[in-house]
């Protein structure tokens, strides 16, 4: 297996993740955003697997497994539950026109490439472009968070940002703690999703007292 082969496949996977992160900007429906996020997470798992193979690093396989099980399967299930439960099928309100946010997204990708590539001339070449791609994903995630008014959509933006971070971490040569860091991030994500759940409950019932919910359940919603 030649070096360039490793190089190209890791970039292909990074590119797919970037594409998903970019498409998140154009989606107004939550279910579509969740689907895109799911594709992103699956690709990320593949990228981590590939990096583990390329760097011959065992803990990257573990990262890939965690990513696949939790981020690509469990989190989307939880998100869809929230969408169904609170009936969030309508389009999400955006803070700026979709077209404008996509133009901003392109500009952010440009900035990320212009910032990262010249500063990393001495770094190992496989990390350079990967780093540019991950920074773009991180910035695009922030853009999604700022352009969406809905809490769940903001969380999906944050999840995408976090995918960019894990992608960057897997690309670092021999970085210790990658699996541990991704687990630490997952705890944060789980709390975020839980937070949305609580917030939505609040908006619906005007009180988070569990007693109130029990009463509503007793009355049969």
């Amino acid at each position: 297996m030649t070096y360039s082969y490793i190089y190209q496949i890791s970039h292909l996977l990074g590119g797919i993740i970037l594409l998903c992160a970019f498409s998140l900007l154009s989606q107004r429906r939550l279910s579509a955003m969740i689907a895109l996020y799911q594709i992103e997470a699956i690709t990320l798992a593949a990228a981590a697997l590939w990096q583990g193979f390329a760097q011959n690093a065992g803990d990257l396989y573990l990262t890939a497994l965690i990513t696949l099980v939790i981020k690509a399967i469990l989190l989307p299930i939880g998100l869809r539950q929230i969408v169904q439960r609170f009936n969030l099928i309508r389009a999400v309100e955006t803070a700026m026109p979709i077209g404008l946010s996509m133009i901003l997204g392109v500009a952010l990708i440009g900035i990320a490439v212009l910032v990262v590539l010249p500063t990393t001339l001495s770094a190992v070449s496989i990390t350079r472009e990967d780093l540019a791609i991950s920074l773009s994903i991180v910035l695009l995630g922030f853009l999604v968070m700022t352009t969406r008014r809905n809490a769940l959509a903001q969380v999906i933006g944050f999840l995408s940002t976090e995918n960019g971070l894990v992608l960057a971490a897997t690309g670092m040569p021999g970085m210790p703690f990658v699996a541990e860091l991704s687990v630490a991030l997952l705890v944060l994500l789980a709390c975020l999703v839980l937070g949305v759940f609580l917030l939505r409950i609040r908006e619906h019932f005007d009180s988070l007292d569990v007693s109130g919910i029990e009463e509503i359940e007793r009355r049969g919603r």
Partner: protein, 484 residues
């Protein structure tokens, strides 16, 4: 296992037990006992700072002890707080509250003691989650909003800091190669000259904005006043002392890496201007927004932003003396601010309830009619925040100002202006709050003996500023000259 690691893991491991069992009163007691043990351990850690991942240096040890001390006094006042409000929240919420106090303590100590940039990040992340859960506990609409704001802003900051952490690792590759060494502060500092300068600069920008969010520097400060105002009072007292310091010290350490690289002829940029800008922005924004606050906890939250800004400003000036001044400022501010919040919580309790929403200046005014002792302690604590003598902060601000005039005279005017404006805004509130007419129906009451813990804080701050023990002076100046 070293005492340093023990001090970190004891509260973290105890948190689930506190979180699942016991009544509110038992939880408060367990909280107190654990805090007492950690306080002892934080002293023992001086003799056994650990090795490898958790290897505390003197800077971490000093601030670790301060953290443990503030947590301990907070835990003592917490007993009264819980007794008064025990019926207003369900037992489950009290358990979560006490568990979060422990997690916050453990992860803050981890942030101080860890000699690894990844562990530092994990510590800040854990503390963020714990603090957010704590802020959301009253479950009112405004508390949830504050918690959500905190989570989104804090999460963004954490994401930026992680990216910066990875960039530092990458910058260390030419000097240290792959592996744990490239993440250790000690090793990074030692090889500061060989780090990749341009990557380090890029990393510093991310780290500054990432940890700057946690240190509540303008323009990333939005979460702090809300979190202070809406959370359960003792937890915010702890917040003010603990979290800001971890983030500020992280910024200081990364600044030193940059500076070491610049000094050795590396290609990194000067970190000073970044820090000066953010520090001044925090100071000036506070100066102009303090006057308009109606809620006292929000007001003093803004004052924390001011003092965070002053510390970062001092780090930006650079040089051993300015960094000494900045570190002293952080120490004193932590002591004074936690005393202030303890007194304020007690004052609100005398006026009916210490729950969030009872801290408006109009609600608390004329404290002297409720209790004279409390009013004097509160008045002194607020006055101490202005930085006028005989407040301890006068000493640190004096060092910082004189260093500014010596090294970067151009910024001394805005610094002075900001300090004076903040002091005026704070002084204006002392009169009405302490001596003004009390709301109708106010009766004199007893505040309880533990108000003198706040007095002890103030006395300690005074001593540390004007009669600091020789040993501590030597420790702090060694730290400052090694981090200049």
């Amino acid at each position: 296992m070293s005492f340093a690691s023990l001090a970190i893991f004891l509260p973290l491991l105890a948190a689930p037990f506190v979180g699942f069992f016991g009544s509110p009163a038992q939880g408060a007691l367990a909280n107190l006992v654990l805090n007492g043990l950690v306080f002892l351990l934080s002293f023992a850690a001086f003799s056994s700072p650990g090795a490898g991942l958790i290897h505390a240096d003197h800077l971490g040890l000093i601030f670790g002890t301060l953290t443990a001390f503030v947590s301990l006094t907070t835990a003592i006042t917490n007993l009264g707080f819980v007794r008064a409000d025990a019926q207003k929240q369900s037992a489950r919420r009290w358990r979560v509250y006490h568990a979060m106090c422990q997690v916050l303590l453990g992860s803050t100590l981890l942030g101080f003691y860890a000699d690894n940039i990844g562990l530092l990040w994990v510590a800040v992340e854990g503390a963020t989650i714990a603090a957010t859960l704590g802020v959301s506990l009253p479950r009112t609409a405004s508390a949830l909003e504050a918690a959500w704001k905190y989570f989104i802003l804090g999460g963004t900051g954490i994401a930026l800091a992680l990216f910066g952490t990875m960039l530092v690792y990458l910058a260390a590759q030419p000097a240290l190669g792959p592996g744990l060494q490239a993440m250790s502060f000690a090793a990074l500092t030692q090889h500061g000259a060989q780090l990749d300068g341009s990557l380090l600069t890029l990393a510093f920008v991310f780290l500054l904005f990432g940890y700057g969010t946690k240190a509540a520097l303008v323009p990333l400060h939005g979460w702090l006043p809300d979190a202070y105002a809406e959370g359960p009072a003792p937890l915010t007292t702890a917040l003010s002392g603990l979290m800001l310091n971890v983030a500020l010290i992280a910024i200081l350490r990364f600044r030193h890496l940059m500076q070491a690289n610049v000094a050795a002829g590396g290609s990194a940029m000067q970190p000073g201007p970044f820090l000066l800008t953010l520090g001044l922005a925090s100071l000036l924004l506070t100066a102009f927004s303090l006057g308009r606050r109606r809620d006292s906890r929000r007001f003093f939250g803004f004052s924390s932003i001011e003092h965070s800004g002053i510390a970062v400003f001092a780090f930006g000036i650079g040089g051993a003396a300015a960094i000494f001044g900045g570190l002293l400022h952080m120490l004193l501010h932590t002591l004074i601010k936690s005393a202030l919040f303890q007194a304020l919580t007690r004052g609100a309790a005398l006026r009916g309830s210490a729950a969030p929403g009872n801290y408006g200046f109009s609600h608390l005014r004329g404290m002297v009619h409720s209790n004279k002792t409390l009013a004097w302690v509160l008045g002194f604590a607020i006055f101490a925040l202005t930085g006028l003598p005989p407040s301890g902060l006068f000493a640190s601000e004096f060092i910082i100002i004189s260093q500014t005039i010596q090294r970067v005279p151009a910024v001394s005017l805005p610094l002075g202006l900001g300090l004076v404006l903040c002091a005026i805004a704070i002084i204006r509130n002392i009169g009405p709050l302490i001596f003004g007419p009390a709301p109708a129906g106010t009766k004199p009451q007893k505040p309880g003996w533990d108000i003198h813990l706040a007095t002890a804080h103030l006395a300690l701050a005074f001593l540390a500023a004007f009669a600091m023990p020789w040993l501590l002076v030597r420790l702090l100046s060694n730290i400052a000259s090694s981090l200049q």
